[in-house]
């Protein structure tokens, strides 16, 4: 039992992470496009527009994440606090603070909620407004201030320990293991500190004597990120799936690696995929003795190839391909397995609600409408449960959706029957089925068992709701068919 509860808690945590990132993907893509196009090494270098790049990634994106994170916990008020507190970690560090925002946002929202719970009912009438603004102001100022002072040392010590990790692998000839440090560091935007502070100088030294260095490839290999985005393209869902192909262009061709970070932040387990991809890529480079003559910036496939010395093309290309393939494979497995988990979660909550709220309904479900007799009249009378008065006009109905608790059995059967009736009458309106918890916004008519109709109405109040008692043979089906027939 405890294990189940923990699992649910972890799943909720996971959906919170994507809840913070997902709504902001558009801003990430906007930033990625601007960066890929207008930076000096971009496709259309144009300084006035490139000026957007820094402020957007330093301020806009973390603030959006912080706001969204706070809002998830405590609505708009939480969002405002989340953004305010996030400002503290932004100012206190000199790297883009995505992770900091993901922590500060929800934390600030949560603290505000707790403080409100403590004080709100003690506030005298007439003073609520004053309390509301000043409590938020004071808390926001405090959190931002603490964050400014606290975050710097944390980032510095992280950079130092990561850098010494990379140093160790380089000095001991364990290069592939460097990916264990480098790939997560990239996601946290600590890569530049490692790259420019340590790998690049050493690489330049090697290149000066040997004409090339593998160290230039460790962090700039676009393969691992490509694998992640490909996996989302194939196995993702919703926005993450549809935005991934565009992100590939920005990341792989444009060399703006940051664009795949949000996808990993949504599902932190995916860091295993980039590590695996990175390691196998580096291993390939080592095996084939591949190197570059200088640091490719940005890390696009074109920049890599441009800096590849004669005779190294096979090694470089193969390293990228291998990294992408390995990362794609691991990411796909993670996406496929955790996807099921998410669906399980919604189904489980749906079921739980049903068990909680409708303990007695199972028996009630069975009594009145019992379609056990072959007496059609009895059946019809019992089956004619109320439907919303004043149904929608035919031209307003674009989609009919059947819903049940899990979206597996009964709604599927009901939908098939109605679909069949529509087909016979040449009604060209799609009929689908789903779990109530996943009712789509654009459903115009929702058909549910009468015990579940209240829940469906709550979920989708603007739709017309039809209650049936007998999914197999409800008179409502014929009524609806007649109504929608032209």
């Amino acid at each position: 039992m405890a294990e189940g509860r923990n699992r649910a808690r972890i799943q909720r945590f996971g959906s919170h992470l994507s809840g913070m990132i997902m709504p902001n993907i558009g801003a990430f893509i906007a930033w990625g496009l601007i960066t890929a196009l207008f930076i000096p090494a971009g496709w259309l270098p144009y300084e006035p527009l490139a000026a957007l790049v820094g402020p957007m990634i330093i301020y806009l994106l973390p603030l959006l994440i912080g706001f969204t994170g706070g809002r998830l916990v405590y609505d708009f008020r939480g969002g405002v606090l989340g953004a305010t507190a996030t400002m503290g970690v932004i100012v206190g560090s000199d790297i883009p603070m995505f992770l900091g925002a993901m922590i500060m946002g929800p934390l600030a929202g949560y603290l505000m909620k707790k403080i409100d719970q403590l004080f709100l009912d003690k506030i005298r009438a007439g003073f609520e407004m004053l309390y509301n603004t000043f409590s938020a102001g004071i808390l926001g100022a405090t959190l931002a201030g603490v964050a400014v002072l606290g975050i710097g040392p944390i980032v510095n010590s992280l950079v130092n320990s990561l850098a010494s990790g990379v140093e160790f692998t380089v000095n001991n000839g364990l290069l592939p293991l460097a990916s264990i440090v480098i790939e997560p560091a990239k996601i946290l935007f600590l890569n530049n500190a490692i790259n420019h502070g340590f790998l690049s100088p050493l690489g330049v030294e090697q290149a000066a004597t040997a004409g090339k260095s593998i160290l230039f490839l460790l962090e700039t290999n676009p393969g691992p990120g490509l694998g992640i985005l490909l996996a989302f393209t194939v196995f993702g869902k919703g926005i993450s799936k549809s935005s991934a192909p565009g992100a590939i262009i920005i990341q792989f061709l444009g060399g703006i690696h940051e664009i795949y970070f949000p996808y990993v932040l949504m599902k932190p387990l995916l860091v295993l995929a980039v590590i695996g991809g990175g390691m196998s890529g580096v291993f390939t480079f080592v095996l084939l003795d591949a190197g570059l003559v200088a640091t490719p910036a940005p890390g696009s496939i074109f920049a890599l190839l441009a800096l590849t010395p004669q005779g190294n093309y096979v090694g470089v290309v193969l390293g990228v391909v291998v990294a992408a393939a390995v990362s794609f494979t691991i990411a796909s497995i993670i996406l496929k397995t955790t996807k099921d988990v998410e669906e399980d979660l919604t189904a489980a909550t749906g079921k739980m609600e049903e068990m909680k709220g409708k303990k007695s309904s199972a028996s009630e479900f069975l009594t009145p409408g019992a379609a056990t007799t072959s007496d059609g009249d009895v059946l019809h009378e019992a089956g004619a449960v109320t439907s919303t008065p004043g149904g929608k006009a035919t031209e307003d109905v674009r989609r009919v959706v059947f819903a049940c608790d899990a979206g597996m059995g009964s709604s599927a059967m009901g939908a098939s029957i109605l679909k069949n009736k529509f087909k016979k009458e040449n009604i060209d309106i799609p009929v689908t089925n789903t779990a109530i918890s996943q009712l789509p916004e654009d459903a115009d008519i929702v058909v549910t068992h009468k015990d579940l109709t209240p829940r469906a109405k709550e979920k989708l109040p603007q739709a017309e709701h039809i209650s049936v008692e007998n999914f197999m043979n409800s008179p409502e089906y014929d009524k609806l068919t007649q109504r929608l027939k032209k």
């Binding site: 049903e354 068990m355 028996s363 069975l366 056990t372 899990a406 069949n420």
Partner: protein, 145 residues
């Protein structure tokens, strides 16, 4: 080898069943015996029935496992059991046709939708209950216009 979703061996006609639990165990047992699910799936079917009835109306019940029982499904399959005297599926609902479902990747939805369309006609319910051979059932469920 992949088996058909609905096989001749998955159909049992004119069975006499006393209780709902017995009915579910019998229906699930066919799926276990023919290698569609593991034995634990039957417990999940009983668990699912406790959550909400699978009685659909028109003398039809479609016992199946819970959402998390998908791991117990080895292969998509359905079993069909006819019980002419009926078995009480709770609250006096007499189920005469029990269709056990083990669905993986929604592969069962095609046949489920055929079954739904067939069973929505009362006369077809009688046809099923009067069927003498398994082939008649298979024919009824396989071609729907």
């Amino acid at each position: 080898m992949a088996k058909a979703v609905l096989d001749r061996e998955n159909i049992k006609l004119n069975v006499s069943i006393a209780t709902m639990e017995e009915g579910i165990r019998f229906t699930g047992g066919i799926l276990v015996a023919n290698g569609y699910v593991d034995a634990e799936y039957v417990d999940k079917m009983l668990e699912r029935e406790e959550m909400a009835t699978t009685f659909m109306g028109n003398s039809l019940a479609i016992p199946h496992g819970t959402e998390d029982a998908k791991a117990n499904v080895l292969q998509t399959g359905i079993s069909v059991v006819t019980v002419p005297e009926g078995v009480d599926f709770g609250g006096g609902n007499m189920a005469k046709i029990l269709i056990g479902i083990a669905g993986k990747n929604n592969e069962h939805l095609d046949i489920l939708s055929n079954i739904a369309i067939v069973c929505s006609e009362e006369e077809n319910i009688d046809k099923i209950l009067n069927a003498r051979t398994e082939e008649e059932i298979m024919a009824l469920f396989s071609d729907v216009g």
